[in-house]
Subunit: 167 residues, 2 copies
């Protein structure tokens, strides 16, 4: 890529992107855990947790230049690399490599969304919890149970029951 | 693009892609309506309707070369253009234009999945039905109510109630 990404540090509980912000970056998470969610009737619905080594962004806002309807917040201190919108779009006009990069991270993001959607339609909360802790065992230590329950779309008491049943 | 897509015709009710097939194409729908869904406990869950002018594919299967867990079927006679996997991958290695094309259709597909996921989390079935018929008024004539109900994730009787309430 013909450019250097920005290096940024975010405090625990700080926002990378707030609801109604226009997202100006695609981020690569070097260290930490990020939560992506929406607001519904004063409550949060958690859409995703992002772990080190993954790209993230309020990508619809980034692509359409419209206010974000998701928030992105740091569950821990986070180190990220950020690629600004204008620089990426300039590279997309001329660079094969930039377009391969953009295509492949978008393919990955697409497959993650589809997987989550299918899992919601076809798997129980317990199955989805087991998959999550198998894929990312660190969530049990690093993410509060209440937030995992919100991610699974269940009550915290249901998560406690699941945890008891599998232990 | 340095290649000609294939032109294909599918009968009403025929399958473009079956569950467990490895998806070998990205398709562009020239004419007709396509349904994408999964099976769950012997029943179908409809993930998407595709209309003329849109791209479609069992894209995760296409990208990962793994058996599809979705089916793609034609609700009407369909005319499609199809781009084979090998040809697209060859083009991705060398062609700026092919990568721009792949990136942009993947961005579009990503945004559609995210929108549907957020709508499921934040909107009622009635709101989602109203949005669907506003965006695609032809669904009322062309897609059986039972299939629309499955797409919305509600019982056919609930869809009848919604239709009465808004008429």
């Amino acid at each position: 890529m013909p450019f250097e990404p920005l290096s940024l540090r975010f405090e625990k509980k700080s926002f990378v992107t707030k609801i109604k912000d226009i997202e100006n970056h695609v981020y690569f998470l070097q260290k930490g855990i990020v939560e992506v969610g929406i607001h519904k009737e004063g409550d949060e619905k958690i859409i995703d947790f992002v772990f080190a080594g993954q790209f993230f962004s309020s990508y619809t806002s980034f692509l359409l230049r419209k206010p974000s309807d998701v928030y992105i917040t740091c569950l821990t201190e986070c180190m990220v690399e950020a690629i600004p919108y204008e620089i990426l779009q300039e590279a997309y006009k001329v660079s094969l490599l930039a377009n391969q990069f953009g295509r492949i991270i978008t393919e990955t993001a697409f497959m993650e969304r589809v997987k989550r959607e299918k899992d919601f339609l076809s798997k129980s909360a317990e199955e989805r919890y087991l998959e999550l802790i198998e894929r990312r065992p660190e969530v049990i230590q690093l993410i509060p149970g209440g937030r995992i329950a919100k991610y699974l779309g269940i009550h915290p008491e249901s998560l406690s029951r699941i945890r008891k049943a599998i232990s």
